[in-house]
Symmetry: C2
Subunit: 383 residues, 2 copies
């Protein structure tokens, strides 16, 4: 080799952990997002006005102080009828998942999850073990309870279930969740309720009585605080104690901690936002049925659409119309499927108008959606 100049990057043989080489990477499409954001299942409007008022009341000196999460955890626990030791606040639900993996997963442990689901489960768990057991849902995307239960082994250490599930919108009932907890008493069962508010069924109240259940919530969705990064874990004090051990005491920033009690306290705002989404979801389902797009039932603030082979062309056409969508084709069993977020009334209206224009523009026909529009049948062969 020639002599090294300062312009050449120095090379090293230093390797990361073997698991880090093997694990997948999460690359969200992060281009300009200045258009109507129906791609990340965010609140499309704004958080409670009480949150914004708190933000504007912050002092400059306060920015210099290390943020203490403990007293806010007490307030949150009280809000949910839990003990303070049963609640831990995290830097978004992403960190919650990461810390679960750090706390519990030895290389020989098995992780059980249903696919398609939230991809960060794969990322965080693969960092600690290569034994990820993925149970693929059939094309109805109904939760495959029997196959899931059958996959539990003595090595199962962590079970991850999102309800409502992302990107399918499907749910796992409280009864099913408790059945899984009972079937795997040696495993931590993580019930990811990020989209709970658009649904209503929950196991949060079961935390005090189920020794292996940890419920996750985020304030990024209905509460509209995605920018601030705040999520929570609710579970037995004993299990959360292990998670606290692997966490920095300063994992949640002080602004998120300041505004959280205001967000939690403004129930009228939350009710309003949820009603916007549930009404908008019905309008969107109706419009998609009229347009001949196959969909699946959704209990979340998004709908998965079966667009078919021209999914990329469709997403590009929507972007031309000023609306961002999320192509889920890379998810297992989701080739040709595109997800659209349901926001407030005006944003749903704009989304529907853009759908009509885009479909017309690219000459899309319902035949491209591989089953009859609006039905949720299991006979589909397309993969």
């Amino acid at each position: 080799m020639s002599t090294t100049t300062e312009l050449e990057a120095p090379t090293t043989t230093i390797q990361p952990r073997a698991a880090v080489i093997a694990m997948p990477e999460y690359h969200p499409p992060l281009a300009s997002r200045s258009q109507l954001r129906l791609d990340f299942n965010e609140n499309t409007f704004a958080p409670s006005p009480r949150v914004f008022a708190t933000l504007q009341s912050l002092t400059a000196e306060g920015l210099t102080i290390y943020p203490e999460r403990e007293h806010v955890e007490h307030l949150v626990a009280e809000h949910y009828g839990l003990q303070p030791a049963e609640v831990m606040l995290t830097n978004g639900i992403d960190e919650a998942i990461h810390l679960l993996a750090c706390a519990f997963l030895e290389p020989t442990d098995e992780v059980l999850l249903c696919t398609p689901s939230f991809f960060m489960y794969d990322v965080s768990c693969s960092m600690m073990t290569s034994n990820l057991i993925r149970i693929q849902a059939d094309d109805t995307f109904a939760f495959p309870l029997e196959r899931f239960l059958a996959a539990i082994t003595p090595k199962t250490k962590l079970i991850l279930i999102a309800t409502p599930n992302n990107p399918t919108g499907q749910t796992v009932s409280r009864k099913q969740m408790l059945q899984i907890c009972a079937a795997a008493p040696h495993a931590v069962v993580f019930a990811d309720e990020a989209y709970f508010h658009f649904h209503g069924d929950s196991t949060l109240a079961d935390v005090p009585s189920v020794p292996n259940l940890i419920v996750g919530r985020t304030f990024s969705k209905a509460y509209g605080l995605a920018n601030l990064r705040i999520g929570m874990l609710a579970g037995p004090a004993q299990l959360l104690g292990y998670i606290r051990k692997v966490s920095s005491p300063y994992n949640v920033n002080g602004i998120a901690l300041e505004v959280l009690p205001e967000a939690l306290g403004d129930q009228p705002y939350l009710d309003w936002y949820v009603s916007q989404v549930t009404a908008g979801r019905e309008r969107m389902f109706t419009a998609l049925k009229e347009l001949g797009v196959r969909t699946w039932p959704s209990a979340a603030n998004f709908i998965l659409m079966d667009i078919g082979p021209r999914h990329k062309e469709f997403v590009a056409a929507m972007r031309e119309q000023g609306v961002l969508l999320r192509d889920r084709s890379a998810d297992p069993g989701c080739d040709g499927y595109v997800r659209i977020t349901i926001g407030v009334e005006d944003h749903v209206t704009r989304g529907i108008a853009a759908l009509r224009t885009s479909f017309a523009e690219i000459g899309w026909t319902p035949a491209e959606s591989r089953s009859a529009a609006g039905k949720s049948e299991g006979e589909r062969e397309y993969e």
Copy 2:
């Protein structure tokens, strides 16, 4: 056992990873901190007015959007004359250390560090390996370079060095740091420059030419952004690539990302704050010498004081005077030592006044400081 009632916490035999059981916990004293905060080495005043102006210009809708760190990493890289791939922003430097451990440490790897130093090194590294090699400084707290170099083995994977060091204030020169990098080409050398601004010596400019050097910086100290949680890693793109893999793409909140360019851009503010600290540090050293308190040279925004056996009584007396200090007695080799943060002029004045009053009140005498006041000699036997 009696029958379980709803009031009893359910028990489980679920165990965390063996390393999680073995690792130490970090319990910062987090009682009320409404007094003068000379305990956590924070900026005691406020960040740049440009930061606060940006905070006040934020929109409510912006709070709903997932924060993208990449474009800010480009700005930060440009600021430091680095390539974008050579910079990664983190949720404070705590997360940076945690991610270094996650990315690089197999259970058989060795970690090399000097003690006393920042305790989060122990916490994060113990989460991944039990092979922590701690080189204890002698009572001068000078960096034990020769013993450190002699402790490098083929198994050494990560070397952690804070300069200036916390809680001692001592430094490792750029030349020494590069010598360590050269002596352990098979290991990642992490130069933690959290307190860089109060010192000036740095290896940041060496990042493009040293293949195993990763420099850490925080914006919690001189920049006054501790509440927002923002730190950075600068290192070879190849090594940072592994760290990005184990990180959430949304690890840094959006407000920290919004204000960071303003903080970096306000050099006059930074210069002013640093000059306040360096002038205050001299005033504090002078006062401590007059009071007969043994200290060590400090290149940081704090001074370590040798109070002796009555360190708890002294810290309590200072709290009575409205000033919070940090008792470092639990740190290895630090029994009886208390750390005081240097802030802006008025806060140093208040700190000095409280010291005089507290010493008088508890009848403290220089004989309790085990060596002659103000000297940094190595003959001390006290341990």
